[in-house]
């Protein structure tokens, strides 16, 4: 063949098929609406809401907001509860890791963080309230043991400063930050670093604080900011544990948004912007504190103080860990007891008449809420898993290495207070003709499920030994066969765990359900809060217990199914390294 006729060979490149459109679709699906939601709240905050005939920009909504007599108290309660909860959760997570690393309790804590994290906010708050109220379970137990009469007169839950709310948030957010600590530690040769520090004479806790924490902190930053933004704007927990006159800012705003006269709509939107400002200011404040500590830490790190052998720290850490585990499990237990209690007068330590009547009484309402919850959670989770896997597979095939900035994008819906954008998003949905429809609800859940599912999946996906896929390809299997026959089964466990997390996030969502569903759909979360507002402990126990039980069931399936499917595949069961 003459050389001139030789075919020009085009180097092989993976076709950029539909898969490469997925990241863009994913971003469009959840970032654009959030930003549109913020703008859709900002405009009415400035007096522009054509739907109500308001077309002139002014500062009147802001002035009305600032003139509201409840505002100062609401802002104080918001700041106290949110900042205190975040600070305590951060100190607890770091303190527990520093004092307990290397102990068996720490391994247990690692295993229990995920189920702890799965406790929905409303259920946890209800259980916690049942526990610590003046006529709650703890006082009843104390009376049974020590004697005594009338319930103590304490403003708990519902103290003016939001201290009870802070305690509930601490209980909820510590496991989240602990999980971030565990995930970060898995990526470091922690044991070797600590061995070196210990051999240089440093005590265990000091070694952890001086060697591991400075490396780890960068990875904790976004989770901490998310906790901060969330704690400052939580609604369902604040409705159960927070103050009432006045309530926290986000709760106050929800009432205004719901006001049937619509007169409070514009100031509520302005309040949404104030809420966003508080979250951003708190994050900036935290960042400043970080910088200050980093500067002050230099001499401390290099100062050579070795610290103690850590016996006392270890005991304090163990006590804190046990308190956390006790409060969480006792809250769950209290929910279960109240759901089965027909008669439980003060100060009986246990119900005196038991029965299933509460469950039967809830009947069709319970069934409806359960069905909606399950439908929303499973659909949103399935979509989130498919989108996340698609994005990760696309990233792998094209050898993309996402930047740290991409992580900020994923965290964005978790960093912006829900009350600051859900109103605008609802306006957008109404404009699209999707108001109060099931697709709107599913999408609003997807918004919060997707970040968690993606974050849970990304590490294991990227950590899978690339040579397995190469081996598959070189054995003659195409990309999609390798994906379905090698990648998916090998990642079954992390995929199911990510799905369980997504499922639990959806089951817990309160505010997005209210807004996107326009109050026309009830879920376990909305009914649990409503039952609490109706002061019906038994009904609240039923909804709270079921709401808490579903995520636990999800985690049980996620942990047991791979063991069942791969019971004869030791290599796969042992290969999982992460808690």
């Amino acid at each position: 063949m003459a050389p001139a006729l030789r075919q020009i060979e085009i180097p092989y490149l993976r076709r950029r098929g539909w898969l490469s459109l997925l990241p863009a679709l994913t971003v469009a699906l959840f970032l654009l609406p959030v930003l549109a939601g913020v703008i859709g709240t900002l405009l009415p905050a400035l007096g522009f809401l054509p739907g109500l005939g308001e077309r002139t920009f002014s500062l009147r909504p802001l002035r009305e907001l600032l003139a509201a007599p409840e505002l100062p108290g609401a802002v104080i309660a918001t700041l106290v509860s949110g900042l205190l909860a975040t600070l305590l959760a951060f100190l607890s997570a770091v303190g527990l890791a520093a004092s307990l690393q290397g102990t068996r309790l720490f391994v247990w804590l690692g295993r229990l963080t995920v189920p702890l994290l799965a406790m929905p906010h409303a259920a946890l708050a209800l259980g916690f309230a049942f526990l610590i109220a003046p006529s709650g379970w703890l006082v009843r137990l104390a009376v049974a043991l020590l004697g005594g009469g009338a319930p103590p007169d304490l403003p708990v839950p519902g103290d003016r400063l939001g201290l009870t709310l802070a305690a509930g948030l601490w209980l909820k957010e510590t496991p989240f930050l602990l999980l971030a600590v565990f995930a970060g530690m898995n990526q470091l040769p922690v044991a070797r670093f600590l061995d070196i520090a210990r051999s240089l004479g440093y005590g265990p806790a000091t070694a952890w604080l001086k060697v591991i924490l400075p490396i780890l902190y960068g990875q904790l930053r976004l989770p901490i900011y998310a906790v901060l933004a969330f704690s400052l704007s939580v609604v369902d927990m604040a409705l159960i544990l927070g103050p009432t006159t006045p309530p926290t800012l986000a709760t106050l705003l929800l009432g205004w948004f719901d006001d049937p006269s619509l007169a409070k709509l514009l100031p509520a939107a302005a309040g949404g912007m104030l809420q966003l400002f508080l979250a951003v200011a708190a994050i900036l404040l935290w960042r400043l504190a970080e910088l200050g500590f980093a500067r002050a830490a230099g001499p401390w790190l290099a100062g050579g103080r070795r610290g103690h052998r850590g016996g006392a720290g270890r005991r304090w850490g163990a006590a804190a860990a046990l308190l956390l585990l006790f409060l969480a499990s006792a809250s769950m237990l209290a929910l279960g007891l109240w759901s089965l209690a027909r008669r439980w007068p003060f100060p009986a330590p246990l119900p005196i008449v038991w029965g299933l009547g509460n469950w039967q009484g809830a009947g069709p309402d319970l069934a409806r809420a359960l069905t909606t919850s399950l439908l929303l959670a499973s659909t949103a989770t399935a979509i989130a898993v498919v989108l996340s896997l698609g994005c990760l597979e696309n990233e792998r095939r094209h050898g993309l290495h996402p930047s740290a900035r991409a992580l900020w994008l994923i965290y964005l819906p978790l960093l912006i207070p829900q009350i600051s954008f859900m109103f605008g998003t609802t306006t957008l949905l109404a404009w699209l003709g999707l108001e109060a429809s099931l697709p709107a609800l599913i999408w609003s859940h997807l918004l919060f499920v997707l970040p968690y599912v993606f974050l849970m999946l990304a590490d294991p996906y990227r950590a899978l030994d690339e040579r397995y896929r190469r081996t598959g390809l070189c054995l003659g299997a195409g990309e999609s066969r390798v994906f379905f026959a090698v990648t998916l089964p090998m990642l079954l466990r992390p995929i199911l765990l990510a799905a369980a997390v997504g499922f639990s996030v959806s089951i817990a969502l309160y505010l997005p359900t209210l807004f996107a569903g326009a109050g026309r759909y009830t879920t376990l979360a909305t009914e649990a809060v409503a039952a609490n507002a109706g002061a019906d402990r038994r009904l609240a126990g039923v909804y709270g217990f079921l709401q808490a039980a579903l995520p636990l069931a999800g985690f049980a399936i996620a942990l047991l199914l791979p063991r069942l499917v791969f019971r004869h595949r030791r290599g796969l069961l042992m290969a999982r390294g992460r808690p």
């Binding site: 060979e9 085009i10 180097p11 092989y12 993976r14 094209h398 050898g399 290495h401 030994d465 040579r467 397995y468 896929r469 190469r470 081996t471 598959g472 390809l473 070189c474 054995l475 003659g476 299997a477 195409g478 990309e479 026959a485 090698v486 089964p489 090998m490 079954l492 791969f566 004869h568 595949r569 030791r570 290599g571 796969l572 042992m574 290969a575």
Partner: protein, 224 residues
């Protein structure tokens, strides 16, 4: 369809770069059918990346130039799964979620009857002294058995060339000998061109083929 001539594996002016830095090459190399050519070089010299380039699985972060021909066919336009280049790594990389039989069946070409797939798997196992292990979990096999299953799996995919990425490194001395001989024997029987990457001189000597050093400093580094 005309049968392609058995010309072996040809590398013509292959060079790899990473971030503008030349990693390896340009390399001209001819591996005739049934022979083993050994590439030696220090770790980090880009040997494994060269094998990935031949397979078509090179990370896009690398830039590669030059041509790779297998039996006269340019591999560049082909996706990895159609290149028919088999590769063995230091780890056996048996799929942990599949049984031994499942791993082997994964490699068989599609379109065979179920019974035939089963028979071919059983026959391959029997031929290597592993008869009856189809149902076993790969994790329960000994290191030597796993290495042999990995070799069988690769051979069942009917490759036309063999790439060996230090596949003997993980085995102890005795197993290493036997497995090495088995691999070279199989390659010779099937008249497959084989490219071995190693930093072990005994492996290179056992291959009894041409030895190419890809890193110029290599001989100096290892004089002591």
């Amino acid at each position: 369809m005309s049968m392609p001539l058995r010309e072996g594996l040809t590398l013509a002016g292959v060079a790899l770069r990473l971030g503008g830095r030349r990693l390896l090459g340009p390399l001209d190399l001819q591996v005739p059918p049934g022979e083993v050519v050994t590439l030696m070089g220090a770790s980090g010299s880009g040997k494994s990346s060269l094998l990935a380039f031949i397979c078509g699985t090179l990370d896009p972060a690398f830039a590669a130039e030059g041509r790779v021909l297998l039996d006269g066919i340019d591999l560049a336009p082909l996706p990895p799964e159609r290149r028919r280049v088999g590769i063995l790594f230091q780890d056996d990389l048996l799929f942990p979620h599949l049984s031994v039989g499942g791993n082997l069946a994964f490699a068989l070409p599609p379109g065979l009857e179920r019974s035939e797939r089963r028979e071919r798997v059983a026959a391959a196992l029997a031929e290597s002294g592993l008869a009856g292990l189809e149902g076993r979990d790969p994790a329960t096999l000994s290191g030597g058995q796993r290495a042999r299953v990995a070799l069988l799996r690769m051979l069942l995919s009917e490759p036309r060339a063999l790439l060996l990425d230090e596949p003997f490194g993980g085995l102890d001395e005795q197993l290493r000998h036997r497995f090495r001989d088995l691999v070279f024997r199989r390659a010779a029987e099937r008249r497959l061109p084989a490219l071995l990457v190693t930093h072990d001189r005994a492996d290179a000597a056992a291959a009894s083929g041409k030895i190419v050093t890809v890193d110029e400093d290599f001989s100096n580094d290892h004089k002591e």
